[in-house]
Symmetry: C2
Subunit: 334 residues, 2 copies
Amino acid sequence: MVKVAVDAMGGDNAPGEIIKGAIDAINKMSNIKVFLIGKEEEIKTELKKYEYNKEQLEIMHTTEVIATEEPPVMAIRRKKDSSLVKAMNMVKNQEADALVSAGSSGAILVGGQVIVGRIKGIERPPLAPLIPTAKGVSLLVDCGANVDARASHLVQFAKMGSIYMENALGIKNPKVAIVNIGAEEEKGNMLVKETFPLLKECNDINFIGSIEARDIPSGYADVIVCEAFVGNVILKLYEGVGATLISKIKGGMMSTLRSKIGALLVKPALKETLKSFDASEYGGAPLLGLNGLVVKTHGSSKAKEVTNSIIQCVTFKNQKINEKIKANIIMKDE
Amino acid sequence: MVKVAVDAMGGDNAPGEIIKGAIDAINKMSNIKVFLIGKEEEIKTELKKYEYNKEQLEIMHTTEVIATEEPPVMAIRRKKDSSLVKAMNMVKNQEADALVSAGSSGAILVGGQVIVGRIKGIERPPLAPLIPTAKGVSLLVDCGANVDARASHLVQFAKMGSIYMENALGIKNPKVAIVNIGAEEEKGNMLVKETFPLLKECNDINFIGSIEARDIPSGYADVIVCEAFVGNVILKLYEGVGATLISKIKGGMMSTLRSKIGALLVKPALKETLKSFDASEYGGAPLLGLNGLVVKTHGSSKAKEVTNSIIQCVTFKNQKINEKIKANIIMKDE
């Protein structure tokens, strides 16, 4: 049984979509137990809508909620009875294997480090979402946890990302690249120039050199290493360009009678295509390198993303990813 | 007459597409004179294909070409008789108002600073392309000239970008935003945190605060200020996500007989839509803050982009953008 603590109160669509996502997850897989954490009355009202195996679900009552706009450090410290802090403590105390939250990113990052804690030897836990590509998915690491990171952090991101892609997604010998502004080794800013030779020296990863942002969507690398500011820009621009382009295309198709008829005919095929380029299909982003698994999903997550994020926790546990991080990164570095 | 020196030998499609683009420009506008700079024999062979007003075109023979992979500083210093260095010198000596090149980015950036030279008081000349948005275009400044920039550089980028958008594109009181990883003022890396209050103090620009990468394609700001590494990632990812998504959509439309028929019907409308999201429609990227105008176009530029880049030089000169940069930025700072 994989035990997942779900922050029922976090995110724009909480608790409705979060709870629906949790129910869908336990109805899909019998080896998951979900703890729904939050205001008991609200959770119970939502639960009345669904049929599910009662043994796979437990409510943990809490009274407080951390809002997105609250300063994260303060919120984590003061709101001891918030759904997020409770979930963090359950992971820390090994009452849960993992937690999933669509709540405040800042609070999740702070809570992950302060409450759950880093694996000994890991300097900074990066946020590592999967992003869709022409070939499937790539792991973007770090996409927002550690701005102004150092070269040694990026080297650990590369190693953890490589272990994650190999074990969680079954990609043998994943190709690791560093985001750069040119393909040549002498290109880059100070951080990239310092990190590049260190990555070249790592003989436990398949480092293929620099990747220009243009080549990220084509699936040129499996693990894309970058500093958090750059990673956050990549992740958000991916969404932004995709959304604007799709809305332009839809608008264009509605512009003439001829194209309107065409649009009706292409609609089902197009829907299928766009689904494969939709980040929510791939669950949330794990914070790698913590003593337990913390998965952050979009603040705007709907049930589907919550379900996928919960299912993701099963692979993470079964593939013993944290054990492999400990064995492959820390032992070797010591 | 606006005199434009065109590097006929620079870029993946030189000299054919470059020369075609130059001819299209003079055939469109009678107030442009183009100097085609490069190997005379090759240029003459190409020119035989076209009809044009001979008084609007002159060939300047040079023997050398700077290749993309050459170290830029060395190339600019040694290849005195290259098409790019010749074009740079023509701008420096005011024999030309502007130059357009699709050649080595590094050599264009170095040559711009070393040969053409900065306007007195400008610390770093940024590369500032227009990028397509849902509403029209935005200016991305800096997109690759100055990695590891300082806050004072970004403030000048904001001011120059604002003058450019107001005068070259006629956008009154353009909205200026800084790329950030969250909307709140306390978010960001060290550079953004240092730059933000300085931009807030500028009363000669319409600073609207942070912009998340997600909101760039929607056209939320007219001038998008960022450090060159981030800007380069934005520009290239724009291209990459667009290209991958469009190829996925085209593939999707070919997947069933029904959708194939639909694709035939939507094709003309779709083509029109995608054209509005195509960066090459908007010409090249000016290097702002130089004693003269240097326009860098994509290495892969076709005739259309070259034509638009040449026409762009007319507006730049007629709107006296450099004079306005001198008057509004330098005088005030002194």
